[in-house]
Structure formats: structure tokens, C-alpha cells
């Protein structure tokens, strides 16, 4: 089987490759996106904790 034959998929290339392409993009995004979400949660919480710390120091003064 030649590469061009493979990509041709017996004339069904559009249907087959859009299915695989969509799977790649959609499942890839669903898998990767929580990495960014977690990073932003950590950043947010760091800020929140720092603010609480400052508040506590001011209160104790």
C-alpha cells in the first residue's frame, strides 16, 4: 500500500480523516486543558493566601 493510497482511504478520505482529526483535537484539548486550569487555580490561591497573610499582620499590629 502506497502512502497516497493510504491517505485516499478508498475514496472515503474526507469522512475517515475528519473523524480521526476531530477525535485528536477534541480529546487532546479535553486532556490538556486541566493542566492550565490547575495552574491558574494555584496562582489564584497563592495570591489569596498572601493577601490573608498581610491582613493578619496588619490586624496584629
Amino acid at each position: 500500500m502506497s502512502p497516497s493510497e493510504f491517505f485516499h482511504m478508498g475514496g472515503y478520505a474526507v469522512y475517515v480523516w475528519s473523524s480521526y482529526g476531530l477525535a485528536l483535537v477534541l480529546l487532546g484539548w479535553v486532556l490538556i486543558s486541566p493542566v492550565f486550569t490547575k495552574k491558574s487555580i494555584i496562582k489564584e490561591l497563592k495570591m489569596k493566601y498572601r493577601q490573608q497573610e498581610r491582613q493578619r499582620q496588619e490586624d496584629s499590629r
Binding site: 477534541l26 479535553v30 487555580i41
Partner: protein
């Protein structure tokens, strides 16, 4: 019925966070290995179908995605029930972070089915029982996600979500048996639990490998989502504070 104390200890958010961190790499690697094996066998080794030619290769995405759409729904319904009955926070959490993954698989099953339907049936869509009940499943997922987003308090959100999930379980056997109960364009099951599959072994093996791969994907993906959400929900505890402060910039 009371659960033994060990279950509660084991399922505590802190323990869950630590354990899941260790498990994710294992799931991720086994997912990638099975994925490449499945794609290789599905796209290169398996022969073309005698009726559908090469177009049937959509099956290696479509069928595992459709199985996952129902599997994840059942996982959510069961873990939401566990959360409702025994008040286990991580069970509620598992239900809520599974929803986007389940919705993605449902959407994928619908779209790939549509892309397979066009060359084989001559239409992208038909309002038959299998397709319609799968579309309802997508709406159940979206309804659950919207409900979770609308209720601020995680406990109340979990309780309301659990009710929705449990009621929606009725749709799962409808999807499964739709091809037997009603006359539909969609073909019947070729892989059954009790009888021999009506598919040649050379086509069946890649299908089962892809199905395994998708399950491992779900495991890795749901744990990654759960870890972020745990930090948010448990932000007022000392252990989360320590985790966040030890995290490098």
C-alpha cells in the same frame, strides 16, 4: 448502612490528591501505548470491509467513543449516588469532573456517526431511535454541567446533580436496546457480551484495543481534572495551603 472508617479515610480529598498524582503517569503511558497499537492495527493491519471498504475505519473512533459516552454516564450516576448516600466528597467530585469528558465522547460519537452515515446511508442525520437517544444523552451531560455551574455551594450542586443523573439513567438501556426495540437505520450490536461477535478477529482486536485505550484516557483525564478541582474546593484547609506554597512559580 455505614461504610467502614477506612473507606472515608482512603477517600479523603488529601489522600485522593496524593494517590491520583502517583497514578496519572501510569494511566497516561498505558493510554499512549494502547492508542498507538490500536491506531496501527486499525489503520494499517485490519483489512478493508467487504461491504463498506475503508470507510468502516471510522468505527475505531465511533464505537469506543459511544461506549465511553454510556460508561462515563454510569460512572457519574454511581459515584453521585455514593456521594449522596455516604456523603463522600471525592465521589461528588468524580461525578462533576467527569461530565465534560463524557460530553466530549458523546459529541464525538454523534459527529463520527454522522460522518460515517453520510457515505453509507446517504445522510448525515436521521431521527431514529439510536441517534435520538444518544443526542438526549448529550443534553443530559450539558444539563448536568449547567446545573453544577448554576449552584454555588458544592454540596447542594452535588445533590441536585445526583438527582438529575439518577433520573437520566433510564436513557442508558434505551440507547443500548434502541436498535432491537425499534426499526432503525443504525446497525445492531456486533460485539455482544454473551455470544460470539459477528466481526472478524482481525477487525475486532483493534476495536477492543481502542476501547481499552479510551478507558485509560478517561482514567488519566478525570484524575487530572479532579486534582485541580480538589485544590479549589479544599482551599481553606492547611494541606492545600502547603501544596500551593510548595508549588514552584
Amino acid at each position: 448502612m455505614k461504610l467502614p472508617a477506612i473507606v472515608h479515610k482512603f477517600s479523603s480529598p488529601k489522600n485522593f490528591y496524593t494517590m491520583s498524582g502517583k497514578m496519572i503517569p501510569w494511566f497516561m503511558w498505558s493510554f499512549l501505548i494502547t492508542l498507538f497499537a490500536g491506531l496501527y492495527y486499525g489503520l494499517f493491519v485490519a483489512p478493508p470491509d467487504y461491504q463498506q471498504g475503508e470507510s468502516y475505519r471510522i468505527m475505531y473512533i465511533h464505537v469506543p467513543a459511544a461506549w465511553m459516552s454510556m460508561f462515563i454516564y454510569m460512572v457519574m450516576a454511581i459515584s453521585a449516588s455514593v456521594g449522596l448516600i455516604w456523603r463522600i466528597k471525592t465521589a461528588d467530585l468524580m461525578a462533576s469532573v467527569s461530565a465534560p469528558i463524557g460530553a466530549a465522547f458523546t459529541f464525538l460519537a454523534l459527529v463520527t456517526g454522522s460522518l460515517w452515515g453520510k457515505p453509507m446511508w446517504g445522510t448525515y442525520w436521521v431521527w431514529d431511535a439510536r441517534l435520538t437517544s444518544e443526542l438526549i444523552l448529550l443534553f443530559l451531560y450539558l444539563g448536568f454541567i449547567a446545573l453544577q455551574a448554576a449552584i454555588e455551594d458544592p454540596r447542594n450542586a452535588a445533590r441536585a446533580g445526583a438527582v438529575l443523573l439518577i433520573v437520566g439513567v433510564v436513557n442508558i438501556p434505551i440507547i443500548h436496546y434502541s436498535v432491537e426495540w425499534w426499526s432503525t437505520l443504525h446497525q445492531g450490536a456486533t460485539v455482544g457480551k454473551f455470544d460470539k461477535p459477528s466481526m472478524h478477529i482481525s477487525m475486532l482486536i483493534p476495536l477492543l484495543v481502542m476501547a481499552t485505550s479510551f478507558k485509560l484516557y478517561y482514567a488519566a483525564s478525570v484524575l487530572m481534572r479532579a486534582r485541580g478541582e480538589i485544590l479549589r474546593r479544599e482551599q481553606n484547609t492547611r494541606w492545600v495551603k502547603e501544596v500551593v506554597e510548595n508549588e514552584s512559580k
